[in-house]
């Protein structure tokens, strides 16, 4: 029976209780094979089946929804908090009113699942003998480990920090992503059989030679971009200049910092906004974010900028620092130069051009430059690096480096990006490593869309929800971010309220989904999804007779050897015996179209006699 079958329009409770494959039949079983993907799913870098988990949430099946997410990536709760949610931007519903609040739904489902989970997942059995070493336990490394472990490889992750998680743990502050959330998600990966070795620094404690001698056959270098880019202006060596990434890491490690009253953050990315909001929480009176372009070009998440403004962070645009002025070795002020916007550059944003003789001073006790991150290349072999030795080079689509068996991806290859893009890199690395081991062509499978299907399926969006203007507009969707300034301003707790921790709200929000695709392919419980007949595993059957008692059609009976037998003529595939079997000996199988066609052929032959 279909997991997301709806019972709209049935007043008869009995019908609902029977369970049904109505939705599947509605769209025809063959429509499981569809040509195009719904826009949300096509937009997700990690190929998460968004439509499926939204549909499962509609049914109140939160745990199953999280299972669907976990099929594609290991971080439902983390992405529910910090993802920039391209799925939401792609949602067809936005042409009517507001897109479905996918991120908050994912977050709520993940939180409910975490609270309700009472047993560890089963470890995945190792089916390959080739060991894989992953360097860096950030989102890219961990999702590569997760995917490889699911494919049956023995995986060990090496991490130089005391805790795994990378930027998710040491970069994103607590009020956006709590540490215990990260810890739980990582624990889930460990429970599947991935080993994480912390406090092991690559290049110092281990390197490729020692790891090769220990029997590792492939490597994924996902060390991230861990060093802040320098400003390159005079006065950077003064006391009171903290670089954003290192500073955020220190705070995550629990160090205390004296900020003074006036803080100036330079940069316009998420780290800059994080640094500004944290400065305010640490007691700074006046916090200014100085960005050399305008609000339009800011790479930070709009809701983060909005929240920062609400909390009292001042945003100054079109200024760039010229020098930092010190007094007695400490920062006293910054001289800024005013900018104007010129022609678009390679990134598509307009290039800031300095205006001559527009220097002006800002007083400051602390300067936090957050203008980008670079890779820490010390300790890496030169074959991995580019000519200048500043960055890692690899094939951007297959993630192969010039060293055989060594792959690299994530922030360390592409520069600082988001969690979900790191997950994409990790999945891609897992696919490449799998292909490297099984001697399948590595360079063939990639288009820019899909990795999980080996690039076979063309990722295209469905366009079949037409005439959207005829659909009645619903009230504004639940936005989720209810930041109570008075309460949250000085707090490191998560500032976003959940969907009021209210399942009802979540379900009605999920019902706003337009279902831009026939079957969602949730495969909620694959054994039941398209079951037609019950089959009994005789080895597992204990002969308790429960199935025979419970079968409404008397299709199950025990034979002389006290083992249950199914009469195929009588079995109607309701799945009740499968659900009630205490030994899990009964599974459901599908009656495929091909079998019906074969039956037709024999029937015609019989009729001809």
């Amino acid at each position: 029976m279909c997991q997301i079958a709806t019972f709209q329009g049935t007043s008869d409770g009995e019908h609902a209780a029977r369970g049904c494959r109505q939705k599947m039949i509605k769209h025809d079983p063959n429509s499981m094979r569809k040509r195009k993907l719904p826009p949300c799913r096509a937009a997700c870098p990690a190929d998460v089946n968004v439509q499926a988990y939204i549909a499962l949430i509609q049914q109140g099946k939160f745990n199953e929804a999280v299972e669907v997410i976990r099929r594609s990536m290991p971080f439902p709760a983390i992405c529910g908090r910090v993802c920039f949610s391209p799925c939401q931007d792609a949602c067809t519903r936005k042409e009517i009113d507001k897109p479905v609040g996918v991120r908050y739904l994912k977050r709520l489902a993940a939180d409910i699942e975490r609270e309700q989970r009472n047993k560890k997942p089963e470890p995945i059995s190792v089916s390959h003998d080739k060991k894989v070493a992953i360097i860096g336990a950030g989102p890219a490394g961990l999702s590569a480990a997760y995917d490889l472990a699911k494919r049956g490889y023995p995986v060990v992750v090496f991490e130089c920090m005391p805790e795994a998680g990378g930027m998710m743990r040491y970069g994103i502050p607590d009020y956006r992503l709590q540490k215990y959330v990260v810890a739980k998600e990582i624990m889930h990966i460990q429970d599947l059989g991935v080993e994480i070795k912390t406090n092991v620094e690559f290049g110092k404690d281990v390197n490729f030679e020692t790891l090769r001698s220990e029997g590792y056959k492939a490597f994924f270098v996902a060390i991230g971009a861990q060093i802040s880019r320098k400003l390159g202006v005079p006065g950077e060596e003064l006391k009171g200049v903290f670089y954003a990434v290192e500073w955020l890491r220190d705070i995550a490690l629990g160090k205390t910092v004296d900020l003074g009253e006036k803080v100036i953050v330079i940069g316009g990315g998420n780290s800059a906004i994080d640094a500004a909001r944290i400065s305010l929480k640490l007691g700074a009176k006046k916090v200014i974010v100085a960005y050399r372009r305008s609000r339009m070009e800011m790479p930070a998440l709009p809701q983060e900028v909005e929240a920062a403004k609400k909390e009292g962070v001042k945003l100054n645009f079109l200024i760039s620092p010229k020098r930092i002025i010190g007094e007695g070795g400490k920062v006293k002020a910054i001289e800024f130069l005013r900018m104007k916007l010129g022609k678009p550059d390679a990134s598509g944003r307009r290039r800031p051009v300095p205006i001559q003789r527009s220097e002006h001073l800002y007083e400051a006790n602390t300067v936090i430059p957050a203008i980008g991150q670079i890779v820490k290349t010390a300790g890496l072999p030169s074959l991995l690096l580019d000519k200048r030795g500043l960055a890692i080079t690899a094939n951007l689509s297959t993630l192969e480096t010039r060293m055989p068996g060594v792959f690299s991806g994530g922030d360390s290859l592409t520069g600082p990006a988001s969690v979900i893009e790191a997950v994409k890199a990790g999945k891609r690395a897992a696919e490449s490593i799998d292909r490297y081991f099984s001697d399948r062509a590595i360079d063939r499978y990639i288009d820019d869309g899909d990795v999980s299907n080996g690039g076979k399926v063309e990722v295209e969006e469905t366009t079949w929800v037409k005439h959207v203007d005829t659909i009645i507009k619903k009230p504004e969707r639940y936005i989720g971010s209810h930041v109570d300034i008075g309460r949250w301003e000085a707090s490191f707790e998560e500032a976003d309220e959940l969907l009021a921790r209210n399942k009802e709200t979540a379900i009605s929000e999920a019902r706003r989904c337009l279902e831009c695709g026939p079957c969602t392919e949730c495969l909620g419980n694959e054994k039941l999804c398209d079951a037609d007949k019950a089959i009994i595993n005789e080895k597992l059957c204990s002969g308790c007779n429960l199935c025979a008692v419970i079968c409404p059609y008397a299709a199950v009976k025990k034979n002389d050897a006290e083992i249950a037998q199914v009469d195929e003529d009588l079995c109607k595939g309701c799945g009740i015996c499968s659900a009630s079997c205490p030994d899990r000996a009964i599974t459901m199988k599908k009656l495929p179209d091909a079998q019906i066609v074969a039956e037709v052929e024999t029937a015609l032959r019989r009729a001809a006699i």
Binding site: R21, D569, L591, L604
Partner: protein, 256 residues
């Protein structure tokens, strides 16, 4: 005497069973109709029905549960919708649409079931042997059936079949509703269009053909054919092979 070859796709839940009526003589029904037992009559793919005709069945009887009583809630409504589309397609192919019939029966009552089968069998005997059987079988109808089979396997008809009830009746959350008449017109249009397209596709996959040749074979105006070919080109179903003197010749592409 002519013995029709009748295939009955009978719903699990509508087929009288020996368990319900122990004295029921199964063999009484079975020589009259070959029963293929399925989980739900709504589960039967239209492709399978057309395939059954192509393989030489004289009649196909679909038997499901009466309307409010489907075990899968709406399977019988789906069967109705599918039968509607199939009948439209059959009338386009030249095979009598009456050779396909959808009937309701209860698993607990044997009498109505036998009556249905007898009536259908008599009807088929009246219609005579299927033109697709025997030595002088009708090639044209056969190719039409194949085209119809491809048409129902295609995306647009499949989606439209599945959503009829939702579009015309269901009070969905957004108040979107198409009147039944409008939907029927739409269905007619799309069935005709899809059939014509797949017919053209089938013809051009066997042989390079010009627009005029296709028009004479399918008996339509050349302008209409050209328009369909233009649409099909954009869907990568057909492509221009080469131009002979001044006549462009088309060939079918493999549909993914």
């Amino acid at each position: 005497m002519f013995r029709p070859r009748i295939i009955g796709f009978v719903c699990n839940w509508a087929l009288p069973k020996r368990i319900e009526i122990p004295s029921f003589p199964r063999m009484k029904i079975y020589p009259k109709m070959q029963v293929v037992q399925v989980m739900c009559v709504g589960r039967i793919d239209p492709v399978i029905v057309l395939d059954t005709f192509a393989k030489g069945a004289d009649g196909v009887l679909l038997v499901g549960c009466p309307l409010p009583d489907c075990h899968f809630v709406k399977g019988n409504i789906q069967a109705e919708n599918k039968t509607k589309i199939l009948k439209k397609l059959l009338s386009l192919t030249g095979l009598e649409p009456e050779r396909l019939q959808l009937e309701w029966a209860y698993a607990t009552e044997i009498e109505p079931f036998s009556t249905i089968v007898d009536a259908f069998r008599n009807h088929i005997i009246k219609l005579g042997q299927s033109p697709l059987v025997g030595e002088n079988s009708d090639e044209k109808i056969l190719s039409n059936i194949l085209a119809a089979k491809n048409a129902v396997a295609d995306f647009s008809l499949r989606v439209l079949t599945g959503r009829e009830e939702e579009l015309t009746e269901a009070m969905n959350a957004y108040g979107k509703r198409i009147p039944q008449e409008e939907f029927d017109d739409l269905l007619d249009e799309i069935v005709n269009r899809e059939f014509l397209r797949h017919k053209i596709h089938l013809l051009t996959s066997q042989k390079l053909l010009s627009v005029k040749e296709i028009a004479t074979i399918v008996n339509h105006r050349p302008a209409l054919i050209l328009r369909q070919i233009a649409d099909m080109t954009s869907k990568h179903m057909i492509a221009l092979d080469h131009v002979e003197e001044t006549t462009p010749l088309y060939k079918a592409l493999e549909v993914k």
